[in-house]
């Protein structure tokens, strides 16, 4: 029970983001004529916000499955990098392991890498509940949007900024935790560089790959600063 309260407390920011973006997705799907059941099912199985929002207009124009598969690959390729920090943690989690892997979204990833587990807490259980609650918010949002989209006509423009706000808060906290600032600076330089070079549609994946390569090159420097160099 205390794990549940802990997970709830740590996912409140995600609750707002996922609920409202989920509602937006549900409204879009019902507007395109898809049933509540399938809309909810797509959120349950896919659970990838930006891809789901992109897939609706693509489906309306009858895009071939191959184009949708390629789009999913490019939009979600960043997820390849998320697992790297959680391989050892997740694989000890038994029956929860596959679920943790398949529901690792941007938001769940950022909660899991910033959360400070309290004393006496079952960490695996708490991490599982965090992933599950995020998933639930997203599915519920889509369901609500699909059922009652017409009655939910609030002007929620800008609510998606809550995700940006959350990520920024995580970065501020990490900035204080990490003695070496090189991971942050590398990320800023790579991201801005590729943004200017390739534009907003294509900069993400080259940025991630270059960050990874640069961090490998800077390993000695960063490890010395972090005090984790063991020779």
């Amino acid at each position: 029970m205390k794990e549940f309260r802990f997970a709830l407390k740590n996912t409140i920011p995600i609750f707002f983001t996922y609920l409202f973006i989920g509602i937006a997705f549900g409204i879009l799907m019902s507007g395109a004529g898809y049933s509540v059941l399938l809309t909810t099912a797509s959120s349950f199985f896919i659970f990838a916000g930006s891809m789901q929002l992109v897939m609706v207009p693509m489906m309306t124009s009858g895009a071939p499955l191959l184009s949708l598969a390629l789009m999913a690959f490019f939009i979600n390729a960043r997820h390849i990098f998320y697992g790297i920090g959680f391989i050892e943690k997740f694989r000890k989690m038994g029956w929860r392991y596959p679920y943790m892997v398949l529901t690792l979204t941007d938001e769940t990833y950022s909660v899991l890498c910033s959360v400070q587990y309290e004393e006496g807490l079952d960490e695996d259980k708490a991490a599982f509940l965090i992933a599950m609650l995020d998933h639930l918010y997203w599915v519920c949002g889509s369901f609500l949007g699909a059922c009652a989209g017409r009655f939910l006509q609030f002007d929620m423009r800008g609510i998606e900024f809550s995700a940006t706000a959350f990520f920024l808060v995580v970065v501020v906290n990490q900035w204080r935790q990490y003695r070496s600032k090189l991971p942050f600076l590398t990320a800023i330089v790579c991201a801005l560089g590729f943004f200017l070079l390739l534009g907003k549609e294509y900069f993400l994946i080259p940025t991630m790959v270059t960050c990874l390569a640069s961090l490998l090159l800077l390993r000695r420097l960063i490890e010395t600063k972090e005090g984790i160099r063991d020779e």
């Binding site: 890498c113 900024f161 990520f167 501020v172 990874l212």
Partner: protein
């Protein structure tokens, strides 16, 4: 193709691609002990990834056109200052988002 069948096929295809991407690093290393390099990356990638994600979220900001990214800049500055001074995640997120939502309506 029937619309329902099409949607089911789309869900299946997108889910499989997304799952494969998420599972990739786990499948790659299986149950073997992790190489030191990967352990190192597991420690230093999170701050880099989160920084990139923030920039990625702000990618639609058009500095060349009115309002020149001012709402984003003000909201982000507010979030950073609040988080440093008050260290309260909820306060920073709510204040920052509210500030952004108000500003995009006013300008």
């Amino acid at each position: 193709m029937n619309n329902t069948v099409y949607l089911i096929a789309v869900i299946a295809v997108i889910a499989v691609v997304t799952w494969a991407l998420r599972a990739f690093p786990f499948l790659l290393f299986g149950n073997r002990p992790l190489p030191k390099t990967i352990q190192y990356l597991g420690k230093v990638l999170p701050p880099a990834i989160m920084t990139v994600l923030v920039i990625y979220c702000l990618r639609d900001t058009d500095i060349g056109q009115f309002p020149h990214g001012v709402p984003e800049l003000v909201a982000c500055t507010l979030i950073v200052i609040l988080q440093i001074l008050k260290k309260n995640m909820y306060l920073s997120i709510i204040a920052g988002t509210a500030c952004y939502m108000i500003m995009i309506r006013l300008v």
